[in-house]
Symmetry: C3
Subunit: 344 residues, 3 copies
């Protein structure tokens, strides 16, 4: 696919500075730019690369001001938000790809399942249980398992090998990646005489609209009501969401985070990779939790926290610097203590 | 399903306080109680909710004493252990659900596999290898893979997409959730001239009776003998069990824990989420390991440890509080040191 | 299978000390040795077991010197590197096992896929997409999903339930374990008005030759170019490799490590379990990263680091010891401070 600067500027509502007729046929990172490629500049860390990039077109923010001469071979397209514009451009290209459709063979579809066969893609070896209801333009890649009574909203894409247990509700425009497991039993046991006694998990999982779920992420069903992932949440790979958890709208969670049972997370939070949250706690809205943090109690909205146990992020960094000096401090303190004991 | 207080009290061997004829048809959390619902009170943190719950029935411990008037609409059922009683009640209800049975099509079953087709459930697209032996009343959900020479005990449930490599032995009444992998190669390499040389993993995995294994958990086969999960162990989701590990009876392990090769864990231990254990160490019986702890050496039975590297849990909390004061301590110490140098 | 000491010594180019005719038919750990078994001694920690082992044969390094009398029933075979010799011996035995071959039914193979049906194993319920190219002697176990345009090199083994998204390139002699996901979308979003906007991930994943990938490990496709795993890399289970990451040759990574987007790791590195690496950083060659470490910035080649945030490993251990003494230090410092304030 080849696009001219003019075409791209039209798609992105951008302003051209340079040659409107120049064409590109591929993407490249700004630091690895090549003639015929389009790059973007968003992270200021990479600004210096624009002065000697070989890319033919670069998307920049409207606010960008060149502090040195730009390559004469370069055409700029100025947009409001270059990273969002990149998303738009990639989406246009992605939408040019043919969409899979039809029902491959063999598949196992319960006679009580409902779907519109004209608009659906069901890959081979998919399994669709009793009373399943599937919306329009849904894609189920090969080897998906859809348990009894599951509902899937319009335009949702479920990749190969996703397992959705019975009674789960999946919204519209969701994307669920391979190996994700939705609705497995919560980890609930009563202890009697040192033996674990299973508490059957009779609830379900509700995934609202516009949620993306990463590869091999697991979301457990609730004991008696619902584990809930609200609209617009984005979950990366290998995340654990325990039973009865609720995650608020537009919260983004990085890979390998673990969220224990009955914890509630607010909206618009960001949680870094490998963080862990205890059970039965509440996290407010707009909370930022750093990577590898360990959260053991409630967190008020708007906070930025880090460390295990977690604390204010700035305080954590300050204490971590002093942590490296502890052996020296210990020695100094010991000497002062000795001096004191000698009465000096 | 509707039950009266009388019926429930009979099932649970409980004592009724209130209206024995009142009926309930659903569960609710005590704090979200509704007329016609049954709730339970176990965690003392939630006790205050009992005084204004709208639930019709609440399961309480025999030892519960009301400190304020209870709602007049409320019937109590007193039992020995309300959480265990909940488990019993949920189990009764769960057992009312029809059990899947029969062999769906298509499946791939080796002619040398043995099983009793009258009592089994084998979901579509399941694969059963050579010389596999399957017990009575086993459920294999769709897309399960059972490698050659595997043995599966009676009443075990294996959910969709579980992969069991050859030679594994699975006990009775086990539950294995979707995406779990049993018997993959241990991570063993000899290094020669900076190149990793694979050590073939010729052992197997043994899972004893009454074990539950969470979604996407991985248990590697041993180099030459067996990785062993003892009777009654409960593993949550996304746990890594390396080769040659042994986990003792009735030990419970939360999500995302990692256990390195050849480590032995005692019985009745509890391990919190995301904890990591080094290889070739021994953990005694009744050890409690906190979430995110890092265990680098042997731990005696009965200890409660936390932190990375792990230490006594109380000491860890005390040191963690001081950790937040380190910048202030550093400043104070610097001033004292200066004063000393001036000879004051 | 029974081997004599003479046969084993020939296979391993070793020297016999003892009875060349003695035979063994099984492996045993040196501490659990039994007559008729072969064991090995590599880790010096286990040396004392050689003086009373019941094993019939033990592989030892050439440099081994007995400091006490050895059992008279014992035959030694001396080799350059006993652990590597064990690998060789296990490989010989492993290669005696019959290899799966042929194409089971049912499978779904696109008519545009290319492969040599005489030398391949394709397990039942495998799915092979359009324009897939498969090398010689490849094994695809049941339930594998090979997306469109994927290339797989000769002699690669892909276990049951692996999911490989479109456009991925897999090298020769690779081993990919069950549940691994290759080529899922990177976690990329632009934020507009607090809503996440998906950035389509149009790149791919390249896995070079001789790579092993553990069970349930996830490797995301790149935004526009490639996520790259270089020759000889070994990845354990449940590892997260984000988009645009590059891992250098012969680097070994333990279970549950997380590597964030665009990070580059050098060759011959070793990374301990549950470590986490931030995005957009560079790790040099021959770096050793300890278990649970958190790496937030570039690391020069040759370093050994530990802790979160990571620091020099020796310094980390020293500071960790002092960490346990913090409450005591805090008290001492408070007393000194009080004394100072009193002007003493």
């Amino acid at each position: 696919m080849t696009f001219s600067a003019k075409q791209i500027a039209e798609i992105l509502h951008g302003e051209i500075e340079g040659n409107a007729e120049i064409t590109v046929s591929r993407f490249a990172k700004i630091e690895e730019g090549k003639p015929g490629a389009i790059s973007f500049l968003s992270n200021p860390k990479y600004t210096n690369h624009i002065y000697n990039t070989q890319s033919s077109i670069i998307l920049v923010n409207k606010t960008f001001t060149a502090e040195k001469p730009l390559p004469t071979t370069l055409t700029l397209i100025r947009v409001e938000n270059s990273y969002a514009a990149l998303a738009d451009l990639l989406t246009v290209i992605n939408n040019l790809k043919p969409r899979k459709s039809g029902i491959e063979t063999p598949v196992h579809i319960s006679p009580t399942a409902t779907y519109d066969s004209k608009q659906i893609y069901i890959g081979a070896f998919s399994y669709i249980g009793d009373n399943v209801s599937i919306g329009n333009k849904v894609s189920l890649y090969p080897h998906t398992y859809i348990g009894d009574n599951v509902t899937i909203g319009d335009d949702t894409i479920i990749y190969s090998g996703v397992k959705i247990y019975s009674d789960s509700i999946i919204g519209r425009r969701c994307i669920i990646h391979s190996g994700a497991v939705i609705g497995s039993d919560g980890f609930g046991f009563a202890t009697e005489d040192e033996i674990f006694k299973k508490i059957p998990q009779l609830g379900n999982v509700i995934i609202e609209d516009d949620v993306e779920i990463g590869a091999n992420t697991t979301i457990d069903r609730s004991v008696m009501d619902s584990t809930i992932i609200r609209r617009g949440v984005k979950l990366d790979n290998l995340i654990q969401v325990a039973h009865n958890v609720e995650i608020g709208e537009n919260t983004g969670i990085a890979a390998q985070v673990g969220i224990s049972g009955s914890t509630k997370i607010g909206s618009n939070c960001l949680i870094g990779g490998q963080a862990g949250l205890s059970g039965h706690i509440n996290i407010g809205n707009n909370v930022h939790i750093g990577a590898q943090a360990g959260i053991m109690s409630n967190v008020e909205g708007g906070k930025t926290i880090l460390g295990s146990p977690a604390m204010d992020a700035k305080g954590f960094f300050r204490s971590s610097i002093i942590f490296t000096k502890l052996p020296e401090m210990y020695k100094q303190l010991g000497q002062l203590q000795k001096r004191k004991e000698k009465g000096q």
